[in-house]
């Protein structure tokens, strides 16, 4: 059979859906309320900078993943250790996404169902799709992106009735420290998580093409994210920082002539689709990483045991969304900055140095 080809649209939508994955529900920087968009924009600026580095790194050795690059840069033993660190990070990421899912579902839709059941169901679906490979996932993500766009836009249009522009006043924030602090959080989650794509870059195609699409996809995600954040602020105002799921809360307020109500279910459906794609991509990257680090022929039979581990860990991670938010702010960003920024830069510099010295 012919080798799978990824079209531009597929890469764009994978990136966009990945970034929107959980953010569609938990707006980043929501504790800032009306100023969340500022920290999103700042974080996106930082992210573009990092994307440049990722591009430079990928261009050093096209068609190689971050795992192979690590080994090239640090030698076999140290490289493997760093790879294992990355694998743990990817695993944590998968767990976090699934845990997010489970928390959401268990606070809004299936209240009495035990966490373990929901997480097993979701992980089973994710495992099934990861076994099917990346190609079906990419194809599905195009549909999911369209679905997301339709949901976001239509929910926004349906709620314009209760928009209040005054919610954005005063325009100039008084506390810039909080915004900068949040920028850090927003960079670590969700933008920096895009490092996961370095795990299977070679599969997607040439770095030039891939990065062009990645930046397009992240721009698209940024626009949608801002749309969501603006909408939520316009509707919820000062109530926004109080809510755990602002988009869900916003959609619950839709009431057009007592006929079109209860649109929150669309938000929930959309979130599940997005989160599913995100979890599958992280899971896939994790499996590929294992395959490359330990030189396996195929990752397919690893899916089930890893899935079991993910389900267990996701079940045990956060009892409620509050711990999730607390973890993101207090712990996650300090941890994630290592694989997202520091190690990547290190690898890049070492490789560059090696290349330079080899050239001489």
């Amino acid at each position: 059979m012919a080798k799978a080809q990824f079209t531009n649209g597929q890469i764009i939508s994978m990136v966009a859906v990945f970034l929107l994955g959980t953010t569609i529900l938990i707006s980043p920087g929501q504790n800032l309320g009306k100023y969340a968009y500022l920290s999103i924009l700042l974080a996106f600026g930082l992210f573009l900078l990092m994307l440049g580095f990722y591009y430079l790194l990928a261009n050093l050795e096209p068609k190689k993943s971050i795992f192979a690059l690590n080994e090239m840069a640090f030698g076999k033993i140290l490289g493997t250790l760093i790879n294992i660190f990355y694998l743990i990070y990817f695993f944590v990421l998968t767990v976090l996404v699934v845990a997010n899912f489970v928390n959401f579902i268990n606070t809004t839709i299936l209240i009495r169902t035990p966490d373990m059941v929901t997480s097993s169901l979701l992980v089973a679906v994710v495992a099934y799709s990861v076994r099917a490979g990346l190609k079906p996932l990419a194809e599905l993500s195009v549909l999911v992106l369209i679905l997301t766009a339709v949901t976001v836009v239509s929910v926004t249009l349906m709620i314009t009735e209760i928009f209040n522009l005054a919610h954005f006043l005063p325009l100039i924030p008084s506390d810039w420290n909080a915004i900068l602090d949040n920028t850090f959080t927003v960079f670590a989650f969700p933008f920096g998580e895009l490092i996961i794509f370095l795990g299977f870059l070679g599969v997607l195609g040439k770095p030039d093409k891939v990065f062009k699409n990645v930046s397009k996809g992240s721009f698209l995600a940024l626009i949608m994210m801002l749309l969501v954040v603006f909408r939520n602020t316009l509707v919820l105002g000062d109530f926004l920082p109080m809510t755990t799921y602002p988009s869900f809360e916003t959609a619950r307020l839709i009431n057009i002539a007592q006929v079109i109500t209860r649109a929150e279910v669309f938000i929930a459906l959309n979130f599940i689709f997005n989160g599913f794609i995100k979890a599958s991509i992280t899971f896939y990257s994790l499996c590929r990483g294992l395959k490359e680090t330990f030189r396996l022929k195929s990752y397919k039979h690893l899916v089930l045991p890893i899935g079991a581990l993910v389900a267990l860990n996701a079940h045990l991670s956060f009892p409620t969304i509050i711990q999730n938010i607390y973890f993101n702010v207090e712990f996650y960003r300090y941890y994630a900055i290592i694989p997202q920024v520091i190690l990547v830069l290190l690898t890049y510099l070492v490789l560059l140095f090696k290349k330079r010295s080899a050239a001489k």
Binding site: F294, L296, H301, L302, A308, L309, Q323, E330, Y334
Partner: protein
Amino acid sequence: MNYLFVLVVFTLLFLMDFKELQQANLNEKIVYGILLLAALTYAMFFEARFTTNSIVTVIARIVGLIRGISLPPQFY
């Protein structure tokens, strides 16, 4: 009873992969074995209330140690 259930689930998982594992090379078998055993042990520990730490909790503890803050008790 719960232990039995865990065992049954993991046996099933193993049986599912058994056919493909036969064609796998040694590396794959080792990695698979480690992962499955890890998952099984973890499930058993969890069932026995021996540990309620997840990877997320562990990460949080490590980061907390470095930053000098302790993990709040409401994490499992």
